[in-house]
Symmetry: C3
Subunit: 475 residues, 3 copies
């Protein structure tokens, strides 16, 4: 076959047809088999409009406090979302072309670059989230095209100028019942309090890594700034910070250590380690050992104060060091590492794993741990719960694999349900909608294969979408 034959084959699809609209299909992401789809539809319909519990978010409370209109489509949907930036970078769009790290670029130009690469998002979770936002929220015609970039940019812009598209109005429209933020030790919770008074339930989440993890270069500075001079003072300070966040509504803490390692050190050893670390006299492994012990200490405090302990591990941050130096973090070069939970979590779990009142939520991006580590641990330890597939795995097929790999050992009871994990405020409903379609699709197969009754599946779908996080996070 020669080139003209290729053209002949391709010729069957007139180019104009390639450009037809792709509206949001009501059955998108639901299984194709008609019986299974019908069950999935029923289950999805039951959970579609449930309130949103965004209990693991990274949106800044000041966004809602200020309630300013979003600037434009480019900053809202492109440069403000490191998932989108990452894909654009991967297909050769230089960060400078998007206005990062130097000379500003016109938002319309940023948007045009994005539109020109719309096809490169095919098959990704980001595409599904973007479609949801563009169609459902902004009523924009798809596909985006470079040739109509001005029109789509302006269409989004017109909406953003309306009062109904200010952050607080959207908070309401999105059906958000609770939105968690992520807060450093010492953070000010005035915004949270003000929002609370205004009827928006925006709660802080303490992320104390800078104090608990001496493998971070900034640890000594953070400890010094906190006025902490000893291990015991560190524990007391963290206890106070936890208490303070809880008083402002926090239901959880968030921990991003590099690997899921824990230790349960005797205080005397921990004190010695602290001393060496703070004086910069630590030996090899000291920082890792101290950090590992701090996870167990956090679990012990959680047992007292009832905050959920969320453990996110297995990430190398700023993998592309030179780019991070030029353009900052959060441009998409954080990547997963292989993680092994079974041995690493043992010291903590031997200490507190049997406590039913404690809630440790494990997240991973290494799916080989789904059935090997996570489901077995959650299927035994009452304190262990499994977070939804995280970050790169926050996607329909990955969710299907997560359900299939964990439920047979651990059941649905030990899944936290979906609480999202995003900085991109307007993507929140899209992400919850995707998760609700995913659980409905999974459960529909359980029903058609006569593993669960439709009534049971209905209860599980409700629990996954809303009931389980509500009770687990004590919302």
């Amino acid at each position: 076959m020669n080139t003209s034959a290729v053209v002949a084959v391709r010729g069957k699809i007139p180019k104009s047809d390639l450009m037809v609209l792709t509206p949001l299909h009501p059955d998108r992401l639901l299984p194709a088999d008609p019986t299974t789809r019908s069950v999935a539809r029923t289950l999805y319909a039951q959970v579609r409009q449930l309130p949103v519990l965004a209990a693991h978010g990274h949106v800044d409370a000041r966004l809602l406090l200020g309630d300013q209109p979003f600037a434009d489509a480019a900053s809202l949907l492109v440069t403000g979302d490191h998932y989108v930036l990452r894909v654009l970078h991967s297909v050769g769009v230089a960060p400078e072309a998007l206005g990062l790290g130097g000379r500003p670029v016109e938002p319309t130009e940023v948007w045009r670059s994005f539109c020109a690469h719309w096809d490169d998002f095919r098959g990704t979770a980001m595409r599904a989230w973007l479609e949801y936002q563009l169609v459902e929220l902004f009523d924009v015609e798809l596909p985006l095209l470079a040739g109509t970039a001005t029109e789509s940019f302006d269409a989004v812009g017109a909406r953003l100028a309306e009062p109904a598209f200010r952050p607080r109005a959207l908070f309401d429209r999105f059906g958000i019942e609770v939105l968690s933020t992520t807060d450093r030790p010492g953070a000010d919770f005035a915004a949270h309090d003000a929002l609370k008074s205004a009827g928006l339930n925006v709660v802080p989440t303490l992320r104390p890594d800078e104090l608990t993890d001496p493998t971070r270069p900034a640890w000594r500075d953070a400890v010094e700034s906190a006025g902490v001079a000893s291990y015991d003072e560190l524990l007391a300070h963290l206890r106070t910070e936890r208490q303070r966040s809880a008083e402002h509504g926090a239901v959880a803490t968030d921990h991003g250590h590099a690997l899921p390692l824990t230790e349960d050190l005797e205080p005397v050893e921990a004190r010695t380690l602290f001393g060496r670390l703070v004086k910069n006299e630590a030996g090899p492994g000291d920082a890792e050992r101290f950090a590992a012990n701090m996870v167990t200490q956090m679990a012990l405090m959680a047992l007292d104060d009832g905050l959920v302990l969320q453990l996110h591990t297995g990430v190398v941050r700023d993998h592309d060091g030179p780019a991070a130096a030029r353009f900052g973090s959060d441009i998409g070069s954080d990547f997963p590492l292989p993680v092994h939970f079974t041995t690493g979590l043992r010291p903590m779990l031997e200490r507190v794993g049997d406590e039913p009142g404690l809630r440790i939520v494990l997240f991973t991006m290494d799916e080989s741990a789904f059935s090997r580590d996570l489901a077995p641990l959650a299927s035994y330890y009452p304190a262990v719960h499994l977070g939804a597939p995280w970050w790169f795995l926050d996607a329909p097929d990955a969710m299907a694999r997560h359900f299939a790999a964990t439920v047979e050992s651990a059941g649905y009871a030990k899944l936290t349900g979906f609480v999202d994990d995003t900085r991109a405020f307007c993507s929140i409903p899209a992400r919850h909608d995707m998760a609700r379609r995913a659980i409905a699709s999974h459960l529909a197969r359980q029903v058609t294969e006569h593993r669960l009754s439709i009534e049971e599946a209905s209860e599980v779908a409700y629990a996954y979408a809303y009931g389980q996080p509500k009770s687990l996070y004590r919302l």
Copy 2:
């Protein structure tokens, strides 16, 4: 959306409907697509009633020798099954509440706790096994409910009091052709012999870990008790023990080393290691190296005596040390470790892997090894065969993944077929039934996708359910 809206959505499902019966559907676990289901039904029907080869079991021969009625539902289905205990523990049922590790608890109370947590088993393999036993064997109405715990407890109890529910009658009813036990070195085989005379084919399986694996604390005691004073005496002793088990019907040995490591040491080195180990003068790695060599020695003996070598690795036992100390082992806190077979098995396979008369069966709970390690090794070495997915992976979706991940490289010829792996006697038919549904479902897709003819699929289903283990284990 507010709480009343939630109630409205939930309100569509009247609570009474949630409590309808879930009888065992004849098509359960079969694929939903009508054509594929129809093929799966045909294949399943062909293997459903084949005799059961429980060639990898852990039931005690004395259970059958004594042939006493099972005590009650609680001890039979709950406290006697560490899979079930594990899930109850994971949702906060304290072992003490089930009568473990201290003050006895009334069986009816144990049963009520179990019934109260019936919903927590949704989606698990255990639920499918329990449903099969409750409905098929004991004619109990589902779901179990705390409110009707007395009725269901009594219903099971009434059956257990019937002669038809004594172990030997069930052995017959279950269609068990061969049942293997697991036996320590020096075990007495009188029960096996007596059962043989009574027409029940119950065969021993030597598990010599206590003598072959010096990483276990009890190794030196075991070696001393066996009267073994040198490496050569140890080999001779093991050869005798193997021979003795074979004379009483054994077809295999079972090995549970922590990791799949092998060595092929010169006798002089092995003798030196033995000397150091027995005198408690071993250096780092000595015990592991000696244990690794013993796997190869077992394979060499297997080449002589024809016993199948079953290798189970990658488990950390009694992960929850404090609970194990209080309540004993077998409460569910054994967990998988990452395993890498390719490098670890090389010394043994270079020595004996090309022997077609040798049968080494590999089991794993780390499914990342399915396509990376296991299928490639089995697709080359005639001695290597792949056991069914093990323990946490003994479940329908995991089996589907195992088939999909191994067959494309290694074919069906190198799968041992299903021989189960359970201490819970009454779960045996449920487990084989599930495996037969799983292979039928897998093969149905092969047929509908025109990869295999229906006749070929039929042969493979038969081989997996019965023919292959029968010939491989020389039953």
Copy 3:
């Protein structure tokens, strides 16, 4: 149930029916659900006849230059294909019985052994490739049977004697647009040039491992033979070799280091390492470190000369050492190792990963890396592209898993598409056909689940089968 019951069940399938023909079904490998199959059929039909880009092959150019008839069915389809040899070995066919490593065996005998084991290929990718060749190319009736081995051997033989079955005629019939070979440094490209003149686009691929990887025992000899006396001379020599291959049509280089490790050493350190290595005075880790640096050096040269850098890692070669010593390499005992790309590739990617003009193609046989390492890296670094599932994973279900595990993060844009990887010339169309059925099946689900429009799916299918490798490899 007793043995007669087993016979009764089996009796339902008369043995004669088991022997019916299995012709190549036009819908083979396409999904069973009718709607999805219909979409898959459409997509497959659009790409089925596209030209073949065999841009990652291992066929010898002299096969085409000589254009001699293939000798017989046995050498063509059995002993000439290490995938087939491997499976035969795994079911107990000794290499000697196939004429390897000693006394010659009649080709008819080799063929008879193969036919006798036809059933052992059930479920494997090899079976699908063999069926395609036997039916599509040689018009042989299936199944192969030992009893009709003479007939099938002769049927293939009769075809092979026809002029239309000589290599060049098949090259044309297969629709091969480009065929890459694999070439050692210093290789002679006369065959490539002669073929070019004759209108066959057969291009070399430099595989410089013997010069770049001092962990290979032959490294020092290779360096000496090349007349290379320093690190700088080595770089210059490699640059020249790359240039020379490019002048003869090469579009890529191929690298088979054991693990995906890279370093970006200062020249002074690399020079020192070279000195130690060449004098056999290297310390532990020196060879690995030098090899790791050479990957980055290759990437830097690729940035200059535009050759695609293909990285295949994670293989232990000649795992069965004794068999390799007797029968040579390429009998099937090369196996996958666990691989971790994220940390290992960082030094190279920090140096050149952001270069959109550079094309690094990553292959793996460890599918736990699909979603954890490969998709994330490709979803950020413009230089990183993902090769099709490799070797043991070059199979329909593995391809389905690869798509599902990578596309949600990285999109289709970062998949190279299918370029095969085979020494078995006649298997080329079978392998491309399988890949085209796999992508059509995957995309059909994307369409029926409303993730992509049919027009988009059509574009992606075309890109995967032809367009993407054409542009990526600059063919």
